[in-house]
């Protein structure tokens, strides 16, 4: 067995800073100088097959690899992504190889292993960005400026010597920080060495390896191949498939959860573009401030060219003050704050978001293979004229036009698939056919789309399957009702039927009337707008009636012997159901609900809160006359406990009603004035507590009402002719006929 030997001369190692434009320049220059026969780039070897699609890509893009789900595996698929920006050295290496017609390969641990492993340990800071650490040690807070001003300017020799210097620095650094090299790093480096060995066997000419600077020392000598092979043997492997997906600058930042993220992709892109255009440091700064002024002007903030000139001068002065040859990101940001933003952080944040990070979105051309689902989604986006954009925008949909209805269906289907591209706006006003959505495409959705691909080949098909699955798994009425609402929203008849069946099943099994009734208001909304969604409203109405019928039976019982907390819940359900019944139920079921309420108010040991509320609801609908209500109020006050609750349930939320409705006011007024002094003393604390829940404004209103004298009975100045004219007008307005 041979000992470790040095890497052959014909292999050039280029240690880079991930997503560093300075490293990208070095790689581009080195490749031009060496003109190798094979290029190895750090990355999962499974992505080799995807390299053929390079010309169809506009960075930022990412390789998306996901583990094929095993049969019967319903959990979310594990997926990983490897992003590339225009200014990434890896991308430049791949692009050069493509231009020069030279084969390129990825060299790293296979994704099959890395994605099957347990949670990735957090990489040590030094290992993640060793060149950045060196720059910080040298007193630079912008590593790319350090590279340009110190490393490149002083390295008068070629790119190979530069790479050599990087390798030496890294060797020293790894000796200093042995604890930053964990077992995972060692494993990855073994895989990289194996790839280098294979490359050496395959070609006889020069080879260039582009990898993170941190790994260079480990690749400079090759230990016996058997040792690396032994290290890599026996790792769990799973089938992996993948594709290219569009990426964005925002997703390149560390804040987005990307481990090797950078803070300022927009600034790096600017540095790279200026370097490619041959700009010097002065032009780079000037161009940046022109962009800053553009952003500020776009927001109607004053930013004159004269101010831009002053900002450039201040940035230069700051760089000189700090002993730096040219302004870095911190200098241009501080100058922008002092000169262009008047010391105000708010516009600077805007600049940061638009320019320093930037919201550039990459593109993946047509020829690149993608899952049938992703292809269907793209077709739908084109057909419905809804291009994905990284910046949030609002769309108004009128569901009566077919195009808008389909858009709504698509967005709802994606919601079901865990791709929240659109968020329905809070102010979804009921009673109209309009919807407001806020659209924002996050490139990370590509992962969810890839994971959802196993459910079906189209958005509708996949959503259908997901909803049917949810329907079969639903155990509670609320769950089933939610599935039903989503299925109706997606207009998937099969899923609607499945959800209906699930609702019936859950309703039959449910023992709690409150749980049943709690689902009624949501379902009523679904019923009312089901017709515009192309679902047979009768089907839904039947479901609603089924729930209502079961709920009505159990309601009086559900109000007996409950604690205050449950009673509060019942109160909410009572109000919601009452409204829903009024809007969506047929006459027969409205009657059933009325009877349920009547039974409830007669149950002697019902909790006062729902009983009081039911009394008022019935009185409002005319089912209980004033005398009966007064009797119940008297009875409540005479009872020892639960009296407060009854009065509270009767009066709560009715302050405006009480002040405006002469009948209700008269009722309460008559009841109060009719109490004997002792009874009044008994009732006083109850009333105070019930009224304490009103807002100060409402209490003031009530006070004025009481102060203005006894209730108007209204009988005397009732003008039948005038009332007739008003109702006639109202009928005309509402279109209900004369």
């Amino acid at each position: 067995m041979a000992g470790p030997r040095a890497l052959p001369e014909r292999v050039t190692l280029l240690g880079i800073r991930h997503h560093g434009p300075g490293s990208a320049r070095m790689v581009a220059a080195a490749l031009e100088a060496v003109r190798p026969e094979l290029v190895l780039v750090e990355g999962p070897p499974e992505a080799d097959a995807l390299l053929a699609h390079l010309p169809a890509l506009t960075p930022p893009v990412a390789v998306l690899l996901h583990v094929e789900p095993r049969r019967g595996d319903s959990g979310p698929g594990t997926a990983g992504f490897w992003p590339f920006a225009e200014f990434s050295p890896e991308w430049q290496a791949l692009a050069w190889a493509h231009r020069a017609g030279v084969p390129a390969r990825f060299a790293d641990l296979p994704a099959a292993v890395s994605l099957s492993g347990e949670d990735e340990p957090e990489e040590a800071r030094a290992a993640a960005d060793p060149l950045g650490e060196l720059a910080r040690a040298a007193g630079f807070d912008d590593p790319e400026r350090w590279w340009e001003d110190v490393v490149e300017r002083h390295a008068s020799t070629g790119p190979r010597q530069l790479a050599q210097a990087v390798a030496e620095a890294m060797t020293a650094m790894r000796e200093e920080l042995p604890e930053a090299v964990d077992s995972r790093t060692l494993l990855r480096e073994a895989a990289m060495r194996q790839a280098v060995r294979r490359a050496c066997a395959d070609v006889t000419g020069d080879i260039v390896v582009v990898c993170g600077a941190w790994h260079v020392p480990a690749l400079r000598t090759l230990p016996p191949a058997s040792a690396d092979a032994a290290l890599l043997r026996g790792r769990t492997r799973r089938a992996v498939s993948g594709t290219w997906v569009p990426w964005s600058h925002g997703r390149l930042t560390a804040g987005s959860g990307y481990g090797a993220g950078i803070a300022s992709p927009g600034w790096y892109a600017h540095l790279w573009e200026c370097a490619v255009a041959g700009d010097d440091a002065a032009a780079t700064t000037a161009r940046w401030f022109a962009g800053v002024c553009g952003v500020l002007r776009g927001e109607d903030l004053p930013a004159s060219t004269a101010s831009a000139v002053e900002a450039v001068r201040l940035a230069d002065a700051l760089a000189a003050l700090r002993g730096r040859p040219s302004p870095g990101l911190s200098e241009v940001s501080e100058a922008a704050l002092a000169v262009l933003c008047g010391g105000d952080e708010v516009p600077l944040r805007l600049v940061h978001q638009r320019l320093v990070v930037g919201e550039r979105l990459g593109r993946v051309g047509d020829g690149v293979p993608r899952s049938p689902l992703a292809a269907d989604l793209e077709r739908a986006q084109r057909r419905l004229r809804l291009p994905p954009g990284a910046e949030a925008r609002q769309v108004q949909l009128d569901l009566r036009t077919p195009l808008h209805r389909e858009r709504s269906m698509l967005l709802r289907g994606l919601e079901v698939l865990g791709v929240p591209w659109g968020r329905p706006h809070e102010r979804r006003s009921p009673g109209t056919f309009a919807e407001t959505w806020e659209l924002r495409w996050d490139p990370g959705f590509a992962v969810a789309v890839a994971a959802a691909a196993r459910h079906g080949t189209t958005v509708a098909g996949a959503a259908d399957r997901v909803l049917r699955g949810q329907a079969t798994q639903a155990r509670r009425v609320a769950q089933a009702a939610a599935v039903l609402a989503r299925a109706v929203g997606c207009e998937l008849p099969g899923a609607v039927l499945a959800a209906r069946a699930a609702l019936d099943r859950c309703a039959a099994a449910a023992t709690d009337a409150v749980e049943l009734l709690a689902a009624v208001p949501g379902l009523a909304t679904t019923v009312r707008y089901g017709s515009v969604r192309g679902t047979d409203p009768e089907l839904l109405r039947v479901a609603l009636h089924g729930l209502l019928a079961r709920g009505c039976v159990g309601l009086p019982l559900a109000c007996r012997g409950v604690d205050d907390e449950t009673a509060e819940r019942v109160l909410v359900v009572l109000d919601g159901t009452h409204e829903a019944v009024r809007l969506a139920a047929d006459a027969g079921h409205r009657d059933g609900w009325r009877r349920a309420l009547l039974r409830l108010v007669d149950v002697r040991d019902a909790h006062g809160l729902p009983a009081g509320r039911a009394t008022r609801l019935l009185w409002e609908s005319g089912d209980l006359d004033t005398g009966a209500v007064a009797a119940r109020l008297h009875r409540a006050v005479s009872a020892d406990d639960g009296a407060t609750a009854f009065v509270a349930g009767f009066l709560r939320g009715s302050a405006s009603l009480l002040a405006a409705d002469a009948r209700l006011f008269g009722l309460v007024d008559a009841w109060l004035t009719g109490l004997s002094p002792e009874r009044f003393d008994d009732a006083l604390p109850l009333l105070r507590r019930a009224v304490a829940e009103f807002s100060p404004a409402e209490r003031r209103l009530l006070g004025q009402r009481v102060g203005s004298g006894p209730a108007e009975t209204g009988g005397a100045d009732w003008d039948e002719a005038l009332a007739g004219r008003i109702t006639g007008h109202l009928r005309g307005l509402l279109g209900v006929g004369g």
Binding site: P302, S304, A306, S307, E310, R313, L314, D316, A317, L318, A320, L321, R322, G323, S330, E334, A335, L337, A338, V339, C341, G342, G343, D344
Partner: protein, 370 residues
């Protein structure tokens, strides 16, 4: 004028030794008419040790970034505007910058509601004007005009307290660097080195908003209140000791613990929550700046020195605290009492302060604002 017989010597007199040492050991290029290089100015403000061992005391405790932007602005002969709530060392920083850059911090225009255009441009010696007619000799130059002629830094204090039309007379001076004198059919052109440092406060009521034409001509640096309790304690200790020396108070330098208590009370009331973030507090109407904390501590030292045993204790601080917090009789008294009862009383080791504050009858206090 020696620094011994004035109450408060100018910065360039008080720190003459430091300025001389910095200038002597400065080998970097200096902009025209600057006494030292920009980097030496930053070091003068932030403190440090020179190669020969001279210790430069820190004048401003805060972010280095802010001082660098301020000095960078002066290098580019742009006008500098220091903005902040009261007591964030705006005037202090402007004085020291002027002293280090021009060696003269006395060219000052004080902004008040009554500041007239003469104090920004020029006035006339009327006896001479009548006797000789308009002439160069009859002209009384303003600090601005003198600064333009000598190429020095001119300070404008409280720019936004000036009437708007007086503020606007700075526009030509700042953009054209000339000041026309139509009476003499001539104009004064500024020589290199001239620039303006203005301070403005964004909290006080009754300020005149700057026109955007003027605002455009300034680079703005916002000075925040001290970021941490420790930084604020350092500032208060250093400044209070300095004041004590200047006033020849017979008291010992303040104990760190007492200063920390004052600073914590100020920070908590200013922020509206206790330092552990657990208790919400009412915010008094005053600004409770670091400068006020300094005067509370210095006032306590004066009390201790002249009427006590020379050591600063809770009883000496209580009345100063009350005067600083309670600016509005009704609402601030409520806030202060609430703070006393909910925070001071419960805090371990603060019993003495609680009792001292209790002893003061709020209705009869004689503190400031009464």
């Amino acid at each position: 004028m020696s620094s011994e017989n004035v109450l408060r010597p100018a910065a360039e007199q008080e720190y003459a030794a430091e300025l001389a040492a910095l200038a002597a050991q400065d080998d970097r290029p200096r902009p025209p008419r600057w006494r030292m290089s920009p980097r030496a100015v930053v070091r003068y403000v932030l403190g440090g040790t020179l190669p020969d061992g001279t210790v430069i005391t820190p004048k401003y405790v805060g972010e280095r970034r802010l001082v660098e932007v301020a000095v960078g602005t002066l290098v580019t002969d742009r006008a500098l505007l220091l903005v902040g709530v009261p007591g964030t060392a705006k005037s202090w920083l402007s004085e020291h910058l002027a002293a280090a850059v021009s060696g003269d911090s006395t060219l000052v225009v004080q902004g008040t509601a009554g500041t007239s255009e003469e104090s920004v441009r020029y006035g006339w010696n009327y006896a001479r004007l009548i006797a000789e007619g308009p002439s160069e000799a009859a002209l009384v130059p303003s600090p601005v005009l003198r600064g333009m002629r000598t190429g020095s830094v001119v300070r404008v204090e409280e720019l936004t307290r000036m009437p708007a039309e007086v503020q606007d007379s700075f526009i030509t001076v700042l953009s054209e660097k000339t000041l026309p004198v139509p009476e003499l059919n001539t104009q004064v052109r500024a020589v290199p080195g001239f620039t303006v440092i203005a301070t403005a406060n964004d909290r006080d009521r009754g300020v005149n908003q700057m026109s955007s034409a003027l605002a455009r001509r300034f680079n703005t640096v916002v000075l925040p209140p001290p970021a941490t309790e420790d930084a604020e304690v350092r500032i208060v200790v250093a400044r209070a000791a300095q004041l004590g020396r200047a006033l020849e108070l017979p008291a010992e330098p303040p104990a760190l613990e007492e200063v920390r208590r004052v600073v914590r009370i100020f920070r908590e009331l200013r922020g509206g929550a206790t330092s552990d973030g657990r208790t919400q507090l009412k915010r008094p109407s005053g600004s409770l700046s670091t400068a006020e904390a300094i005067s509370v501590v210095a006032g306590g030292m004066a009390l201790a020195g002249h009427f006590g045993d020379g050591t600063l204790g809770a009883d000496k601080l209580a009345s100063g605290l009350l005067g600083a917090v309670v600016k509005d009789r009704v609402s601030d008294t409520a806030a202060w009492h609430e703070y006393l009862e909910t925070v001071v009383r419960e805090r371990a080791g603060w019993r003495d302060l609680y009792r001292a504050c209790q002893d003061l009858d709020t209705s009869g206090y004689a503190g400031s604002g009464a």
